[in-house]
Symmetry: D3
Subunit: 143 residues, 6 copies
Amino acid sequence: MTTAITRLYRFSASHRLHAPGLSAAENLATYGKCNNPFGHGHNYVLEVTAAGDLDEQTGVLLPLAKLDRLVEETVLRGFANSNMNVDVRQFKHLVPTTENVVLVITELLQQNWETYLTGVPARLRRVHIQETDRNGFEVKLNA
Amino acid sequence: MTTAITRLYRFSASHRLHAPGLSAAENLATYGKCNNPFGHGHNYVLEVTAAGDLDEQTGVLLPLAKLDRLVEETVLRGFANSNMNVDVRQFKHLVPTTENVVLVITELLQQNWETYLTGVPARLRRVHIQETDRNGFEVKLNA
Amino acid sequence: MTTAITRLYRFSASHRLHAPGLSAAENLATYGKCNNPFGHGHNYVLEVTAAGDLDEQTGVLLPLAKLDRLVEETVLRGFANSNMNVDVRQFKHLVPTTENVVLVITELLQQNWETYLTGVPARLRRVHIQETDRNGFEVKLNA
Amino acid sequence: MTTAITRLYRFSASHRLHAPGLSAAENLATYGKCNNPFGHGHNYVLEVTAAGDLDEQTGVLLPLAKLDRLVEETVLRGFANSNMNVDVRQFKHLVPTTENVVLVITELLQQNWETYLTGVPARLRRVHIQETDRNGFEVKLNA
Amino acid sequence: MTTAITRLYRFSASHRLHAPGLSAAENLATYGKCNNPFGHGHNYVLEVTAAGDLDEQTGVLLPLAKLDRLVEETVLRGFANSNMNVDVRQFKHLVPTTENVVLVITELLQQNWETYLTGVPARLRRVHIQETDRNGFEVKLNA
Amino acid sequence: MTTAITRLYRFSASHRLHAPGLSAAENLATYGKCNNPFGHGHNYVLEVTAAGDLDEQTGVLLPLAKLDRLVEETVLRGFANSNMNVDVRQFKHLVPTTENVVLVITELLQQNWETYLTGVPARLRRVHIQETDRNGFEVKLNA
């Protein structure tokens, strides 16, 4: 039996939803009040799930301090207290919908996984972001 | 990588658990206090999960307004503030256990998906109902 | 410094809001969908707060088992899994709005406090009922 | 015994904390990352508490539809999905700390209470805003 | 369509994380403050998910009273209000990390499933333990 | 109008409830399973409320970094990941019921308030500890 750990992180940020290829009317129709030119914001709750076999001696799936450093340095440092449209490089040319936020964060975690978790057998399995009390977004990764 | 959105809806309703084919004693043994002849109720939390590829230009998985209209018109209009045994057609001949509620709602969403979400590539993947703080019921649909 | 304990209880029940002295149109205007003839229901969360001085030897404000027995026997036994309009005596002639529910429960706790908590110096200070995620009702009692 | 109702509203907004009378270094020392020039945001949870005597016939403290209209038209219409520094008039000359947000919203509710709740005996007693899972801000009003 | 039920249980316990095969320095490096010799504790939230086909007549997936008896007698009786290192047999020779706790509880539920749920077609599918607001641990079982 | 801020902190600890002046039977009758000789534990949620007038220029009630340092250095450093009976000096001769925990923490905050929050007009008004999902303990301080 493999086990999975889900670790929760929180950050606050703002975004404006506006697709440059669409007209003003189309942007309003697509994004509604989220197209407000000056942006608005959320308390995002980020869940990172990793799975694998436990270390037999310690009974631990992965060193939490290493996972925390990965998330802190590659995600939170850029996203926390940011205006994502302006402060996060990937959203210069990508609309910061939470669908795109979860994809960008998943890629950041995958690209840096080996660097921060060298030798740890656990693998990234799922990234979930809760944007509001009603909307959650998720990417699942195959075993 | 495909993404999934989970959207949360809330409704309050009442039900009485009573199977017509069982004796009074069997009904009491099966449903306990939920067999109370005058019913009782819950604040149900309904989660609808859909998955698929994002629209590249907008970065959106599905138009939330369309999903909301689907759920509002085919589910909430009938279930919210209802006595499900009396007010919801499907429970005239089906016991409104939350297991059956989640199945009925899943069928309503599937049958009406194309009508409300024409041309949207995202598909229904999961319906979850939280009945109390301790009991949740779920249907998962294959990709 | 006096301390206070808040103990949480949960129960599910149904109600119909309908004032006999009002016309059908007035009832609908007053209660909206909650006037549905067959009722609907909620998961009620009941908080009971008591305050006083600690027992010096035990460091305990009141014996929880006694408070639980008070609430169980005088409140939950009647309200849990009930249709309040029919099953709870007080609502034969009183509309079971949650405002009235919190008043009725406060009176039941006050009337029976001495019987169940004989010799305990802590006093009832507050009764709060959360009816939905958005509506809470409260009675505070003076010291 | 008087009763109180607490009604919960949610809105998302962004803000930047920056006091014009302070130097750049003082602003950074005072507000930390919240001084980020492009702002960040939150999911704010607004609780409005009113207290008074129940209407004897209906058992209702105040008509929720009227309270909702008050909050919708005088608060949410301006704050929801806004960049408060730019979109909310009061913060043109006032730093939109959540301390100030709760004061501004309290004043808006007080000034408009009589207009929206004419003839309703219940009075505003408390306004609370939860800014993050860890920080809540509150104003209490005397009876 | 098969349905799943998730039932939630709560218990409080304490543990000390210390691997006998590691040196004092290695233990401290691995477990940090959780290596504190006198232990610390948590409010654990245990979720048990079972899936299968509903009983057609009753619309019920499994008798909750039977599931509760299984969890109560084989898990909670041993774990609730315990110091797991001392009070739970399996942790005499296994470090009570929450990874191991979820594995031990999964095995207890699997080994006793047939005894407590004879003739019930639903099968155990998932065990999840939330250890703190930020850390959850899970085992999923194949269909 | 004065405003109040409530700041939330979390810590995990274990305790054993046992009053030295009581017999074994009395201890068991008083504390039930919490008298278990090896202790058990909780995730405690600590809320600290302070109230006062805002700094006019900054719109801030108190510098959060200073409050955090007060709580971190005088409370969490001793309580987090501790066995309170053994690791926290005050409980060498006082039963670590959560009633006593909230009193001890209140005293620690009061005694050190001036040192950490010199010149800040906000005053400590309330300390609340949630011990489990059902039990909360509170001390309120007069203005």
